[in-house]
Amino acid sequence: MKKFLESRFLRLIALAAGVFATSGLAPAQTHYVLTNDDLAFPFQTGVGFFTVGTNGLPVFLQQVHTGTFGIGGGYFGMNRLAVLNSASQKCVYASEALNGFIVGVDISTLTVGGITSGSDTDAGTTNGIGMVMNGNYLYASFSDSNTIGTFAVQPGCSLTFIGDTSVIGLHGGIVNGMALHGSILITSYTDGSIASFTISGGTPISNGDEQLSTATVTSQDATYANAIDITKDGHYAIFGDTSTALSVEVSDISSGKLTKTTVFKSRASISSSNILLSPDETILYVVNTQGATVSALFFDKYTGKLSAGCTSGPLAGLSQNWSYLGAVVPMSQSGNGGGVFVAEFGTVSGIATVPLTVSGQKCSVQEAKGSPTADPNTPGLLSIESFPPRSF
């Protein structure tokens, strides 16, 4: 019997190991919601770590002090955090726009790794520094110098600056949102331009496809594309618009270049500055920055088409505690994400928890009881990330 049990136990161990090996799953990692605790001079800033409680709400764990200075705000479509989850290291990089620094924090030890800056002329002191990264490079958009700095990932959660690429919208727009997939990097600008770059060699090289988004040209309610997301297979790029309605655009990038965007518009809320595809790509979460709501649209990853979904009521604390909604991350990294965590920017900044329920082609998004969770270390929370990050 004992041998039988030992045998069964060993077989279970072996089975579990086999499952992990074949699925690529590592032993469970702590689920963090990360915050860029953006503070303007003279207050030094840091990166906040929140765990997720059994009720699904973030719980503040600690702040890793970076000793640098932010600007306490900026563009909505930029993410001021970038997460690296490679086999060799787990890092979160935070941009600190006043100094122009990018600070790496080791997620395993919750300590600061490297602090890096770009060129002498790189600057994002007015509206911030956005970031995206893959396993090898981090790309930082400096909104004042209108440059994209390329940084090589180094051990110890540090970076090495490689060089700058000057960028600009067709009508002088400032670089705003960024997203990357494989060898393509896509940018948006404040004048309504969108553009793509090849990054197969590391440094971005223009694909020569810069264009005004369709909504910028034709839509009654939208002015320019802001945040960007890209499907897992790299077929579609999706743009959330700065607008006075809900406005999202989709471009087929399967050729490796941007094509004319198609527009999805709804009067369900106001503005669409932040967007996020769910892990299974069935839902596009839209943060209605100006409307103080979160919308969920149905997305067909095979056709790139969006269809109407649902919109939450105004999130709690608007005006009293916070003024703007910022970045968005999924509550979980499987299925449709189960909802989202959303950054709230204001004197009492925090993280809203907004679960999603789907039944057929109907859905509901409503803020969770007990939400939001205050971030005690900043009145200027615009950027959050998740660790482990979404897989694409």
Binding site: G73, S271, Q290, L318, S323
Partner: protein, 517 residues
């Protein structure tokens, strides 16, 4: 708009180089805690009101610029006098821009598309002109054109000859600069004054023989130029700590108060309180138009640029206070804070004040727009206010859009977004799709309020400025339905409609309408 953003926006848009010590041009302003005097009045004689204004400014030690209209009265220079005219008069107003010809602050704007009126050139913070707010006068050069008229520093001046129609409703109007991009700067704490069209007692005999008071409520930011913390003034008198402007009344006396909201953005929710309780105020007129029937209200909401005229009765003893309550302008709006505007002191030794003429047989016959409610509208339009934020520090866009058109901010050289004809009666539904309250204003005409939020308005008053509350993120957009009357041939021309929160107007929440002959 959200405070922090506006601070940064103001600096980003305007910069700070103009915050340098300059002239001390403006007359001294009254000391805090003193009895409020009415503005100096200039009356018309023989059918003409003649006056000469010089736009000046003073800069305090903090670099705070106060613009002012200076007028040389006998023995003294006074600031922003009240112009008093009769229907049918001509306002002959000569305006000299006495500011420094320092063009350090320009906005990158296209020149107006029409023929220049006045000095022409580029609009700068030192350029000026005059808008006669609420007056039903032609939108043409030398009368009430604000699109093409520019008066530049150093020029000999500009002559206005405004023909007040014989049908102009008697009531309170006001005048202020209206150079696109810079209106807020010049109105901020200074350049604005009252304009009274005589004859209210002929329409509303309730005011006959009463002591008349004119109070112009202005607003000035505490941090120079930055739309943040502010103070309100009553006829240029500020409050400080527990010291407030003092309004003298005799015990139990009824006075006729004429209030102009000349603030930049403040929605005034006015009350007179006795022992903490708001007392009834007998409403006489709104926006210069006598009400069809008087009504008692304990609270009167006056949007930026609006006017309210009402009868106040002093307590039989003791004091009262004149206040504006806190007013929510929405999640992205400015906080309009509760403020004691003045204390009302009952005294038997009040200073001499002007009195309304005795009553004549009342008649509202002949007033413009009198029958507007029963005139059918041939055209329906929908417009809406909206706001667009790209980040916490901007860019921020303020739009008023004709439904179906592409949203855009105002440019001086734009084509009119609405074209209509003299004789047209139209119904405009104006929605607010922003999380901030806005104040709709159209030049040259009054409109009749038909509906609020799709329901018949309880008070179908004639107005020239009206508040549209913020959208709360749920349900239908707040709206007003307004009947517009372009039947008077004097409306022919191009003029503007806009939000009268002046920062919004300056940043482009405005468009042109063309009325063809």
């Amino acid at each position: 708009m959200r405070g922090m953003s506006k601070w940064v926006l103001a600096i980003a848009v305007c910069g700070l180089p103009f915050l340098k010590p300059m002239a001390q041009d403006c007359p001294a302003r009254p000391a805090t805690g003193t009895v409020v005097a009415d503005p100096y009045s200039i009356n018309s004689h023989g059918g003409t009101l003649t006056a000469h204004f010089t736009l000046g400014h003073s800069v305090d030690s903090a670099g705070y610029t106060h613009f002012c209209y200076k007028y040389q009265a006998p023995g003294q220079v006074v600031e922003a006098p009240t112009l008093r005219v009769n229907p049918g008069d001509v306002i002959s107003l000569n305006v000299v821009d006495g500011l420094s010809p320092d063009n350090s602050m320009k906005m990158d704007m296209a020149a107006p598309s029409g023929p220049p009126c006045g000095d022409g050139g580029a609009a700068t913070i030192n350029s000026t002109n005059v808008h006669f707010h609420g007056m039903n006068v032609p939108p043409i050069c030398h009368q009430d054109d604000v699109i093409n008229t520019l008066i530049q520093p150093g020029s000999p001046g500009f002559q206005y000859n405004v023909h007040v129609p014989t049908t102009q409703p008697p009531g309170l109007y006001w005048y202020h600069p209206h150079v696109h991009g810079f209106t807020e700067f010049q109105v901020n704490g200074g350049a604005a004054g009252a304009l009274v069209v005589n004859g209210m007692e002929k329409v509303r005999p309730e005011v006959a023989g009463l002591t008349e008071r004119v109070f112009v409520i202005r607003q000035q930011y505490l941090v120079p130029w930055i739309p943040g913390p502010y103070e309100l003034t009553v006829n240029y008198q500020t409050s400080f700590l527990a010291q407030f402007p003092v309004i003298d009344m005799k015990p139990g006396e009824k006075q006729f108060w004429r209030i102009a909201n000349a603030t930049l953005q403040d929605f005034l929710e006015l009350q007179v309180q006795v022992n903490g309780t708001a007392v009834p105020l007998e409403m006489i007129a709104l926006d210069g138009y006598p009400l069809a029937q008087t009504r008692n209200q304990t609270t009167i909401l006056v949007p930026p640029a609006g006017r309210a005229e009402f009868i106040v009765q002093a307590p039989s003893s003791g004091n009262a206070i004149f206040v504006t309550n806190a007013y929510s302008t929405g999640p992205t709006g400015n906080a309009d804070i509760a403020t004691t505007l003045a204390t009302i002191q009952t005294t038997t030794s009040t200073a001499a004040s002007s009195h309304m003429p005795e009553s004549t047989p009342p008649s509202a016959d002949g007033l413009k727009f009198r029958n507007l409610a029963v005139q059918p509208a041939a055209t329906q339009r929908k417009l809406y206010f909206s706001e667009e934020f790209g980040g916490t520090n901007g860019p921020i866009q303020f739009y008023i859009t004709v439904d179906g058109q592409k949203q855009k901010v105002f440019e001086p050289n734009e084509q009119p977004v609405i074209t209509t004809k003299v004789g047209a009666i139209e119904d405009w539904t104006v929605e607010n799709r922003a999380l901030e309250t806005h104040a709709f204003h159209i030049h040259q005409i009054h409109f009749r309020v038909l509906e609020i939020d799709g329901k018949p308005a309880a008070n179908t008053d004639l107005r020239d400025t009206i508040e549209i509350p913020y959208w709360d993120g749920k349900g239908p957009y707040p709206s007003v339905k307004l009947r517009m009357d372009f039947s008077d041939p004097s409306t022919a021309g191009t003029f503007v409609f806009h939000c009268h929160i002046l920062l919004h107007e300056d940043l482009g929440m405005m468009h042109k309408i063309l009325v063809t002959p």
